[in-house]
């Protein structure tokens, strides 16, 4: 396999893994066994996958409530994630956190924190520790368009700037905070201008174009690793399912069919598939086998999670304190 083909397929694999995991969660959610809120990333796979493509195992990512894509793109364990959603002891947080508290320390996924803006500050703190401990690692922080409305973003961006910390802020703009559209929450100016005011390097890309995302992310990661300070990447994307839950929500009327269908056409997976077709003669037969291998892995992870034991009631009060 050529290096280019390997690269394109590894990016594709990340996107597909996210899509297929999320669809499987949506398909099984009605069984009432994953009894925690889920904020699915369907539609936003290109942004997460592209951003993580050039991170090293020693780099870390932070995220918030909609974190499945980031966790999976950074290499988090599918089994531990699904077991967490099922509330099992083998879950990445032992069933104590649910979907909004994913972590995988081996993969460099710091604990996701579900209150908007919080993990921006702790992610900058991770970068501060890298600088203090002279570790050449990068802290990538995923956030949404709503997070720039929080004061903590500006405080964290300011600190990362004055200390020239190895941070990459990745702002996925999906145009809604829950169901409230961007234009009623913020003035009509590019979000990148906020970051520029803090003297962050900025770049803007189509978040549903995984190749475009990985290109600007690579530049930002290189800057961070070379001690040239933090960057802010703005990625336009779109959430295809409801804010929280497995369903589509078109009937509720907060977004138009026209807008929705436009983004359906911009599906990051379909887009990458056509790149593969053009560049490496990828066929539907290749694709079917490729998808099936991922599906098999996901099915095995579901079986593991479903059959795993629950934590014992007597463990509920453990780990409040170290001793």
């Amino acid at each position: 396999m050529t290096a280019r083909k390997e690269f394109l397929l590894s990016l594709y694999r990340k996107m597909l893994l996210i899509r297929l995991v999320e669809e499987a969660i949506a398909d099984r959610y009605h069984e009432q066994e994953m009894r925690c809120p889920v904020h699915l990333s369907i539609g936003q796979e290109g942004a997460a996958s592209g951003a993580c493509q050039h991170l090293l195992a020693t780099d870390v990512v932070s995220s918030a409530h909609r974190s499945h894509a980031h966790y999976l793109a950074k290499g988090g364990s599918v089994r531990a994630m699904l077991a967490e959603l099922y509330g099992k002891a083998a879950g990445c947080a032992g069933g104590r956190g649910g979907s909004m508290h994913l972590l995988d320390l081996d993969a460099g996924v710091l604990p996701c924190l579900p209150i908007i803006g919080t993990s921006i500050s702790t992610g900058v703190g991770a970068a501060f520790s890298f600088k203090q401990r002279k570790q050449n690692s990068v802290s990538m922080i995923f956030m949404g368009d709503a997070a720039v409305e929080e004061g903590i973003f500006h405080e964290a961006a300011n600190f990362s700037s004055i200390k020239s910390l190895p941070v990459v802020f990745v702002c996925e703009n999906n145009f809604y905070s829950v169901c409230t559209p961007l234009e009623v929450r913020q003035p009509q100016r590019p979000i990148t201008e906020l970051a520029q005011a803090h003297e962050l390097h900025t770049a803007h890309a189509d978040g549903n174009d995984g190749l475009a995302v990985q290109a600007i992310a690579k530049d930002a990661i290189d800057l961070a690793r070379n001690g040239e300070g933090p960057s802010f990447l703005l990625l336009d994307t779109y959430r295809m399912r409801e804010h929280c839950g497995p369903m589509f929500d078109q009937e509720t009327g907060y977004r138009t069919d026209e807008e929705y269908n436009e983004w359906l056409e911009k599906c990051p997976i379909m887009r990458h598939f056509s790149i593969l077709k053009n560049e490496i003669n990828w066929t539907t037969v290749d694709d079917k086998a490729f998808c099936q291998a991922i599906r098999d892995e996901i099915d095995a992870a579901f079986n593991f999670a479903i059959n795993a034991p629950f934590p014992a009631q007597e463990t509920a009060g453990l780990h409040v304190y170290a001793k």
Partner: protein
């Protein structure tokens, strides 16, 4: 130890503890607005910037919310930050990170990660500081599982408990009363640890138990002294830690005296004294010989003018009055105690920590 009788201030003790930890462990750093400024956080950080430089003594932007998250994020990956705010109230911007992130990290990671952070919060009082610079919020922090909440009284405990807090793997809210900074005590020069989970018995007696913390312990000591002069014995217990709450000595003491007065540094409603009384009541209905009492700040914000604060804080004469109501002594003993207190407090002004104090904060 040969240097055990050396006398230094509470503020110097805090500084020595910080110096000890910085010197001992390269992962310790100090962060706060003013840690390297001329005031040096009321002298508690003096000289540290010159000794350790700006990588270890970190001036911070006025961003309490995010910088608490930064300190937490660094602590998760192995650093041991000491964060300092010049007033308790400045930390209120960081409640989200303190309650949701620091206090829950160990729990929500199933024991994989901890947040060894110390947040020093200073309680103001007097010289007109007013409603937003003079709050003692230990019961608010004490409500949260996952936090240690301590409030030492003596210079000795300040040094030993700060060192323990830095070494502890869990987040510690370290509450210092501004009026304690200038008090002095015997403090060993070397580093030492004082446990974060134990009360300290200040005086012993059979007649009444007083549980106090921080500055209120010093006020209660005057009451114990005066009652001693009329042959009434006071078990005075310095709480030292609000969370965890060490009930062992309190329980033994009240079982002996049957009488209890809790003197809180904060408001009484949902306060520390209420929690102590509830726990004793739960342990058995016959422990109290007389109904337990609690005191604290009056149930309104702290006014700025000195004209309005003489009933705001529990002053020694008011603490004494509560004790006398509980004790029901003969009139002669009662009056003798009151006179002794009047004599002791005759030169006291309500809005300054000591006669030398001339403002502003």
């Amino acid at each position: 130890m040969p240097n055990d009788n050396r006398t230094i201030t509470f503020a110097e003790a805090i500084c020595e503890a910080t110096d000890f930890c910085l010197n001992e462990d390269p992962s310790v750093y100090l962060i706060g607005l003013g840690v390297s400024d001329p005031g040096a956080i009321f002298g508690t950080t003096r000289g540290l910037y010159q000794r350790y430089g700006d990588e270890r003594i970190v001036e911070m932007p006025t961003s309490e919310s995010a910088l608490t998250g930064v300190a937490i994020g660094s602590a998760v990956l192995g650093q041991r930050p000491i964060m300092t705010h010049q007033r308790v109230e400045f930390s209120l911007f960081a409640f989200e990170n303190i309650i949701n992130t620091a206090a829950k990290m160990r729990y929500t990671t199933n024991g994989k990660l901890s947040v060894p952070i110390v947040i020093r919060l200073i309680v103001g009082r007097g010289w007109g500081q007013g409603p937003c610079h003079a709050q003692s919020l230990e019961s608010v922090f004490g409500h949260i599982p996952g936090l240690n909440v301590v409030m030492p009284t003596t210079a000795h405990d300040a040094k030993g408990m700060l060192i323990s807090a830095v070494k502890d793997d869990d987040p510690t809210i370290f509450i210092e009363h501004r009026w304690l900074h200038s008090t002095t005590g015997h403090v060993p020069k070397d580093g030492y640890e004082v446990p974060l989970d134990q009360t300290r018995t200040v005086s012993t007696g059979d007649d009444i138990t007083i549980v106090a913390s921080s500055l209120m312990t010093l006020e209660a000591m005057l009451v114990a002294q005066v009652l001693g002069e009329v042959e009434i014995g006071v078990d005075l217990i310095d709480l030292r830690s609000v969370r965890p709450l060490d009930m062992s000595q309190i329980h033994i003491s009240v079982a002996k005296t049957g009488r209890l007065l809790c003197v809180d540094s904060g408001w009484t409603t949902y306060g520390v004294g209420g929690e102590i009384i509830a726990r004793l009541a739960e342990s058995g209905s016959d422990i109290f010989r007389t109904p337990p009492r609690r005191m604290g700040m009056a149930d309104y914000p702290s006014p700025s003018t000195r004209a309005l604060i003489s009933e705001y804080y529990p002053f020694p004469d008011q603490i004494l009055a509560q004790c006398l109501e509980v004790l029901q002594l003969p009139a002669s003993q009662n009056d003798a105690a009151k006179s002794a207190m009047e004599e002791l407090q005759k030169n006291r002004r309500v809005d300054v920590p000591n006669a030398d104090f001339s403002g502003p904060f």
